[in-house]
């Protein structure tokens, strides 16, 4: 009886501690998500009343070439960003931890791009680097080489992705640095005694033990790559000719600029379903989800 009372009391206390976080999740994540799902079945011009129209928005979506383009662009960003961010951040983390003395300084430097506000990042890259009069093209001109129009429709997505990599690599590397610090040094020392090379130590110790971190980084970079918005907003406005427009940007444009919040919600809802599906596939491919 006393045990039961104690358990009940502990449960209440645990619940009380969880409640604020739970409330935040419900109010700022779950409810808006549910609201978006409901709104996707309506015609709603933001400031008027929503009108239920069944599956009409989803039918429109199938034939909407702008949606197709935004979906393609989003998947293209993901295809570029996920492997580069996962592999790149791991490589950066390995590089940083290999320096024993300068590690603290390197940890600070590699994280700097993440500290710079997104709007400033956009200006630096757009005007300072990608512009026909930016640093890279000035150097190319000096060398008598052809200029590169980084933000032309053909290269714009790659250029945006490169900016994203520059900005985010340090953040994801930080996760790997934390993961690497959790691997006991004795494992490596034993391997060295057994004559294992650096490559063998990486593939038989580091990589397997970093699997949970890799799974986490992969899932989070997938979500991040699908959520490309701010940099597109600040650098290209979705152009040229919609070449850099993502699903999220398209959803924003529909809802807040075209007054089609119902249809914009449909795009956002489909976006959510795609991200959920991709995460499920990733977890299945990478392995045991209990590692997280």
């Amino acid at each position: 009886m006393a045990n039961t009372t104690l358990r009940t009391r502990n449960t209440i206390i645990d619940g009380a501690f969880l409640l604020p976080a739970l409330l935040l999740l419900v109010v700022f994540r779950l409810l808006p998500g549910m609201f978006t799902a409901i709104a996707s079945f309506t015609k709603w011009p933001v400031i008027g009343s929503p009108e239920f129209i069944g599956l009409a928005n989803f039918r429109t979506l199938i034939e909407d070439t702008h949606f197709h383009q935004a979906l393609f662009n989003t998947l293209h960003y993901s295809a570029m960003l996920i492997p580069v961010l996962v592999a790149g951040s791991l490589a950066l983390a390995l590089f940083i931890v290999s320096f024993v003395r300068a590690q603290a300084a390197l940890k600070m430097i590699h994280y700097l791009p993440m500290v710079i506000p997104l709007s400033i990042t956009a200006v630096i890259w757009k005007v300072g680097i990608y512009s026909p009069f930016g640093a890279v093209n000035q150097i190319l001109s000096e060398l008598g080489m052809q200029q590169i129009q980084f933000l032309r429709a053909d290269y714009a997505r790659q250029s945006i992705a490169l900016t994203m990599v520059w900005r985010q690599l340090g953040f994801w590397a930080l996760m790997y640095i934390a993961g690497l610090s959790g691997i006991p040094r004795s494992f490596y020392e034993s391997a060295v005694v057994d004559g294992a090379t650096y490559v063998q130590r990486f593939f038989f110790i580091t990589w397997p033990l970093l699997k949970p971190v890799t799974l986490l980084v992969t899932i989070l970079t997938t979500i991040a790559s699908f959520r490309v918005f701010g940099i597109v907003y600040a650098m290209t406005g979705g152009g040229p000719s919609g070449a850099t427009k993502t699903l999220l940007y398209y959803s924003y444009e529909l809802g807040w600029q075209d007054f089609r919040m119902g249809y914009g919600s449909t795009v956002a809802f489909v976006f959510l379903l795609i991200v959920l599906a991709l995460n499920a596939v990733q977890r299945w491919l990478i392995g045991d989800s209990n590692d997280l």
């Binding site: 015609k43 011009p45 933001v46 400031i47 008027g48 757009k126 005007v127 512009s131 026909p132 009069f133 001109s141 200029q147 129009q149 933000l151 032309r152 429709a153 714009a156 290209t236 406005g237 979705g238 152009g239 040229p240 000719s241 919609g242 444009e253 807040w256 600029q257 075209d258 007054f259 089609r260």
Partner: protein, 444 residues
């Protein structure tokens, strides 16, 4: 027995609440408005400090407090929409046409002002009739145009003279003379040069800011044709001969090599930067105030001059001229909001703004205290444009709730044309098709 108790309790509750409800409704009828909210886009960085004295003097006169919210140009409309959707809109907003119409059409969120706008008010503030036309929709006036932002065509006279185009300068600055798109293209070609002699072009005739998502760059050229985008009956007019002509003209300048590489992604500020640095000879966005400020700071600037718009192949000489406006969103403080608008407009502070921000008065205040020759010339051209019959197509944004969407469609296809992905004809057809769809969306 229980049912009886319930009935008694219910009656007691209703009886108890009734006086309260009556009191509440009575209180609402007699309720004095003691504060209103005013949201404004910033005309300069110190907007809050600048307008606070006006708000304070209004409070002194009327006893009504004004809560000021300076909203950013980029996301301000989202803030307004969110406030309306949340049922708590600002009472008065300082905004623009493309932001007003959707609020009228989709949410009935703006109060018509025809009953408030008296003849006396018109005489004082609507010196130019085109300003009020920009805020009339389906026979009603929804906002008071306040300050006008002339978007000026300008030239670097030094570069023209170096290229031997002295006559062109005379022609472009004479309201009675005309210069055409063919002249534009020819002169732009002659102004495109390798000035350093290293075999590379480093000076261009024109730099269209094709990367801009704004309305003003594309409309500068489109209004010049005299063409309409959506007529007063809601029929889509864009996508016709005028559209093809604009797209062909800009593509032609690009093919001539008269514009620098990458114009399809160039922003207005980048284009202006090239012009201000003397790398480009003609601009559609001469920023008179910033140039005067540069001059005042001791910068040695070339001889910049404002020019009249060219004559399009269709005969018209239209231009883009922005009129910002004050609108009332309030439902329960309309009179107080109107009193505030009248007070706000009558402030002497706007004379200073006209100079520093480079705005053009709708009426009421005179900018005769400005000494800078460039500003004087800019005003002269602005006044010349309104005075002359040839320049009858001076317009602001697209007068339709789908206006912003159509501008985005136009900008996107223009980028395709400048990228070589579409021909002008293909782009014009696509613009028309998508504009029709956008208009239908707003009407369905």
């Amino acid at each position: 027995m229980l049912a009886k108790v319930r009935v008694v309790v219910l009656i007691s509750v209703i009886a108890g609440l009734a006086p309260l409800m009556l009191f509440a409704s009575g209180a609402q009828e007699d309720e004095q408005v003691d504060s209103i909210s005013f949201w404004t886009f910033p005309l300069r960085d110190s907007m809050r400090e600048d307008v606070t004295p006006i708000l304070e003097s209004f409070t002194e006169e009327t006893g009504i407090e004004v809560e000021l919210n300076v909203i950013p140009w980029g996301q301000g409309q989202d803030n307004i929409l969110a406030a309306i959707a949340a049922g708590d809109p600002p009472d008065v907003v300082y905004t623009t046409m493309s932001r007003v119409l959707p609020l009228v059409e989709f949410g009935d969120a703006i109060r018509p002002l025809d009953e408030k706008i008296t003849d006396e008010f018109k005489e004082t503030y609507f010196a130019n009739p085109s300003s009020i036309n920009n805020y009339s929709w389906k026979g009603q006036t929804y906002a008071v145009p306040f300050l006008g932002g002339p978007h000026r065509w300008g030239i670097n006279v030094d570069l023209f003279l170096e290229a031997g185009l002295d006559d062109a300068v005379e022609t472009m600055t004479d309201p009675e003379a005309t210069w055409t798109w063919d002249d534009f293209r020819q002169w732009a070609s002659e102004l495109t040069r390798d000035t350093s002699g290293n075999g590379e072009i480093d000076q261009w005739g024109y730099a269209y800011p094709g990367g801009s998502t704004q309305a003003s760059p594309i409309l500068r050229h489109y209004w010049n044709t005299g063409g309409e985008i959506v007529d007063s009956d809601g029929n889509v007019r864009v996508g016709g001969d005028e559209t093809v002509a604009v797209l062909e003209f800009l593509r032609g300048l690009q093919e001539d090599g008269s514009m620098p590489q990458g114009v399809e992604i160039m922003s207005v500020s980048e284009s202006n930067g090239l012009f201000n640095e003397g790398k480009v000879a003609i601009t559609s966005h001469l920023e008179v105030p910033s140039l005067i400020a540069l001059k005042a700071s001791g910068e040695d600037l070339p001889d910049f001059r404002v020019v009249y718009p060219p004559q399009s192949p269709f005969g018209a000489r239209g231009s883009f001229f922005a009129w910002d406006a004050l609108a009332i969103l309030s439902e329960d403080a309309v009179d107080e909001s109107w009193a505030f608008i009248e007070h706000y407009l009558s402030s002497e502070i706007w004379e200073e703004f006209l100079v520093e921000v480079g705005l053009y008065p709708v009426g009421g205040v005179g900018p005769d205290m400005v000494d800078d020759p460039l500003y004087q010339q800019a005003l002269e051209v602005a006044e010349g444009i309104f005075a002359h019959d040839d320049y009858s197509h001076v317009r602001h944004e697209v007068l339709h709730p789908a206006g912003s969407q159509i501008i985005r469609i136009m900008n996107s296809h223009l980028q395709s044309v400048l990228s070589g992905a579409e021909s002008p004809e293909e782009a014009a057809d696509a613009i028309r098709e998508e504009a029709i769809s956008a208009v239908e969306q707003t009407e369905s």
